[in-house]
C-alpha cells in the first residue's frame, strides 16, 4: 500500500514533531514526514510534487501560512493538494481569510490526535 506524503510547516520544531506524532497516532499509513520551517521552504517542497496533504502554521517568519495559500494556485504540483491551517490565534478573520483562499480546514493549538484525524481523514478519501 502506498505511503502518504505529508508536509508539515511550522516555525517551531517542537510543534512539527507534535503534529507528526499526532498524525502517526491516527493510524494513517504515513511515509517519511516532510517538514518546512517557513512558507518559503514549504513552497520549495511543494514544487517537488507528489504531496498528499499539507498542514501549515499561520504565524511564521519569512513567509506566513496565508501567503503560502495564496501562492499555491500558481504551482502546478500543488493542484488538488488539500491544506489544513494550524493556528494559535483566535482570530476569526484570519481563519476566514485562510478558508477563502483555499484552506480546507483548520486546527487550533492545542489539539488532540483525535481532532487531527477528524480534519485530515476526510481529505484523504480516495487517496489510499
Amino acid at each position: 500500500m502506498r505511503k502518504l506524503k505529508i508536509l508539515i510547516v511550522d516555525d517551531s520544531a517542537v510543534m512539527r514533531k507534535i503534529v507528526e506524532r499526532a498524525l502517526r497516532q491516527t493510524g494513517l499509513n504515513l511515509g517519511e514526514g516532510l517538514e518546512a520551517s517557513n512558507g518559503a521552504e514549504a513552497l520549495a517542497e511543494v514544487q517537488k510534487g507528489s504531496l498528499d496533504i499539507i498542514l501549515s502554521d499561520i504565524n511564521m517568519p519569512v513567509m506566513d501560512g496565508l501567503e503560502v495559500l495564496k501562492s499555491l494556485p500558481g504551482i502546478e504540483a500543488a493542484k488538488g493538494v488539500p491544506v489544513i491551517m494550524i493556528t494559535t490565534e483566535g482570530s476569526e478573520a484570519r481563519v476566514v481569510e485562510a478558508l477563502s483562499v483555499g484552506a480546507k480546514g483548520y486546527l487550533r493549538k492545542p489539539f488532540t490526535p483525535e481532532q487531527v484525524k477528524e480534519r485530515v481523514s476526510p481529505l484523504l478519501v480516495g487517496v489510499l
Binding site: 517551531s12 517542537v14 514533531k17 507534535i18 517568519p61 483566535g90 478573520a93 487550533r108 493549538k109 489539539f111
Partner: protein, 159 residues
C-alpha cells in the same frame, strides 16, 4: 494538552519556622509573547530549567529535549498557545490584535517592568511538584480592572 499533562494549582510548601526564605529555583527560563493592537500586553511563562526540560520532553520526546534550542522552542510554543487562547476568549478584540513570535530569556536575575503602569496577574500551576508561573496579560487588566484576587499591585516582578 500538548504536554500530555494536566496542571493543578501550585501550593508553595510551608516554610520551617525560623527558616530563611530561599529561592526554590537556581535558574530558570521565561518565555514571552507580546500582543499588539487593540490589546497591548505581554504573556509570560516562567519555570526552572529542570521543569522546562521536563515540559519539552513531554512535548518533543526524550531524544530532542536535551537540546537547549528545543527546550526554548517548547517554552515559546506553550506561551504562544496561552497568549493565543487568551486572545481568542476576547471575541471583540481577537480580530484586532496580533501576537509576536515568542522570545525566551534564560536566568532569574532580572526585573520585568512595563512602561505603562499596570497590574500583573500571576498564576502558579503545579507540574510534577514544581511551579510554573503564568502571567497572562498586563495591560488588559489595567483596562478592565476585573481580575481574580491573585493579582499583585505592581507592574514589576522580580526573580
Amino acid at each position: 494538552m500538548m504536554a500530555g499533562t494536566r496542571l493543578t494549582p501550585f501550593v508553595p510548601p510551608a516554610a520551617e519556622p525560623g527558616a530563611e526564605a530561599v529561592s526554590q529555583e537556581q535558574s530558570g527560563l521565561t518565555a514571552m509573547v507580546g500582543t499588539a493592537g487593540a490589546l497591548c500586553s505581554m504573556t509570560t511563562i516562567r519555570c526552572s530549567s529542570d521543569t522546562a526540560i521536563k515540559l519539552a520532553t513531554k512535548m518533543a520526546g526524550d531524544e530532542t529535549a536535551k537540546d537547549p534550542n528545543i527546550v526554548s522552542d517548547a517554552m515559546g510554543e506553550l506561551c504562544n498557545m496561552v497568549a493565543g487562547n487568551f486572545k481568542a476568549k476576547l471575541t471583540s478584540l481577537a480580530d484586532h490584535c496580533m501576537l509576536s513570535v515568542p522570545t525566551v530569556t534564560s536566568g532569574d536575575n532580572y526585573v520585568m517592568q512595563a512602561v505603562e503602569p499596570s497590574e500583573v496577574l500571576q498564576v502558579a500551576f503545579n507540574f510534577e511538584a514544581s511551579p510554573i508561573y503564568i502571567s497572562p496579560n498586563h495591560a488588559l487588566l489595567n483596562a478592565a480592572k476585573s481580575s481574580p484576587a491573585s493579582r499583585s499591585s505592581s507592574s514589576n516582578f522580580t526573580h
